[in-house]
Amino acid sequence: MKFRLYRYSPESGEKPHMQDVELDIDPVGKMLLDALLAIKAQDETLSLRRSCREGVCGSDAVNVNGKNRLACITPLGELKEPIEVRPLPGLPVIRDLIVDMEPFYRQYRSIKPWLINDGPEPEVERLQSPEDRALLDGAYECILCACCTTACPSFWWNPDKFVGPAGLLQAYRFIADSRDEATSARLDNVEDPYRLYRCHGIMNCVDACPKGLNPTEAIGRIKSLLVKRRV
């Protein structure tokens, strides 16, 4: 199979370039990660992140034929050749397919992603109805792979100011949690022309999410909560 891989090593003195690679591999039952690791076994200078190889840890997000995906759950057979693999867009490249995720993590931290409840703790669990718990479905499953945020033009323009779809989805996860008592402060934290309102509903995030989550919908819910709060 034919591949075109983005290569960059800051120590080499070379500019970033695309490298054509041919690999003898039977695509049946294989994922893109299998191919990238087979290429690395031949040429160990190729660098990429990987861990769980089953789509739950979020390490191996890359841009494949123009779309952000997790290499480990992208079936090789579905991809058009030459398969072009680049690092995630919109973040500084450290080397090859590895980007500096810090701008993404910083936005995640900025929404205070932890449960806030200053009430006295019961000796047992806090109760939550299955219906209230269901509100977290579609939000808590985020794996922080950054496929969505780095597919978002608003994040490309303002990575330091716009929280981005992953961060806002997590903001919603805590707003929606019946056990969390900081809804008002959480809404204050994002009510800002940049932090929240740079989202223009382009919906690249929905298309990009490898876990089938819908950040645009969650952002819409935050916006409507803000409207409700005003009236």
């Binding site: 759950i73 669990e125 939550q128």
Partner: protein
Amino acid sequence: MNTRRFDALIVGGGGAGLRAALQLARSDYKVAVVSKVFPTRSHTVSAQGGITAALANVDDDRWEWHMYDTVKGGDWLGDQDAIEFMCREAASAVYELEHMGLPFSRLDNGKIYQRPFGGQSKHFGGDQATRTCAAADRTGHALLHTLYQQNIQHRTQFFDEYFALDLLRDADGYCLGVTAMSIETGEPLLIEARTTLLATGGAGRVFWNSSNAMINTGDGLGMVLRAGLPLQDMEFWQFHPTGIAGVGCLITEGVRGEGGYLLNKHGERFMERYAPHAKDLAGRDVVARAIAIEIAEGRGCGPRGDYVDIKLDHLGEKTIAEKLPGIRDLAIRFAGVDPAEKPIPVAPTAHYMMGGIPTNLYGQVVAPARFGPEEPVPGLYAVGECACVSVHGANRLGGNSLLDLIVFGRAAGKHMLEYLRDNPYPRSLPGNAAEASLARLQRWDQAGSERVAAISDDLRRLMQTHAGVFRTDAVLREGLEKLNELEGRLAHAGLQDTSRVFNTARIEALELENLMGVARATLVSAISRTESRGAHTREDFPARDDEHWLKHTLYSRAGDQVDAKPVRLKPLTVESIRPKERVY
């Protein structure tokens, strides 16, 4: 050389490390976490089915019953004081996670959802218990993210994508931190700490067919072996019965807990023959052996007869969508079947290391020394899969791993606080403390004729063939000879890529060194144990032999020595559970 100083250092950012870090971060002491991946990429994230605690939310339950099941599940090799401690602390540890925000699934009355899991009974071996607390089939993900979030809130200092190399110790044996390397820059770093916790996880990548993440390379075990400390019970590896055939990704025991069952090629529910009472929810070692036998005797499914089926379509679309959504996803992606319609092809896959770094109840690493067989190594702790406390004995029960991380992560964190109070002044680091470690790092700048990737592949195939579900003396010894050859090749290995920045080839070489130590410990310990117990099945010694082998093995690298230490059959407060035949 750059040096950073902290009060406490945690090596590893999975569930165990983050739970301990949180305990320390809530204090006034400075705590740092070193992790070779961003913490939420740790393997805890892959845990599916749940965390076991006798909350009695669904059915009658008592921690004593959980304790009995854990002792029996471990084929009486677990230390009963540690097991009592874990089962007793379980409920409070789980409630604490809920208070932190872990999004557990819920029952209609609003309490935490619990499901049946293998090896769990009521009334000391009676009917099936419903004890495993779950967040759908993503419990590990929910747990790891919750703990990471709590650590951000408490401002734990993270060294993300730093690879720990070796322990720093002084002449009196005190552990004073680690040498590490920034993966991003390739720069070595000394991290000094008055107390250090290893929470580096398992080493399942030593097998060819494994459920484990690619990062599970036994790094903490390698560090301990190089420091001249022993490893305990390394012959005990759990093969999970239901990995997706040919891939290894896990299909949670929760599938069987929710009512799924296994079928051979004749459509027979064969577990009825092997475990008439518990059937598909017998101990994992029992079910894995049963599958291996079905396959070996020609009753496997598929064109090559090399797997069995797990059927769950009868559970209905709704249960699958609510309780097993991640499994459905994995099955569709990796096996090409929708389990709501067709069974999933499964086979045993290397899953969990029951052995590890010997510790006591407080997570202190213990080793034979001048004053006794279990003397704490001052300043050094270990928790989680890399540790052997030992609660899992010869076979771990499903749902007990996440519990182990949380209970002993908390206990170790608490004890480290005491240690810091008792040892208020830093000890000075000997000038040459990092020398050997740096030399080991520099060794990979030299050229060599052998390739790391090829040796890694050969190692995994070797362990798959020579240390799998069924073992004999001859097969194990042949494996050890092949391992000697591989070690010879490793000495001549070199990297094509000697760059500094994010050189993952160098990391893989360092990981391979750790895996080699794990493989040797496993083979040598397995040769020594001439009985079958739990997950260690010797075809040449098919029976359990309590008279000679109701004891732990302690492997030391020097001379490949295997010593023994007694199993603690005396719990803390309750009556001992005496060894008897283990039937399900």
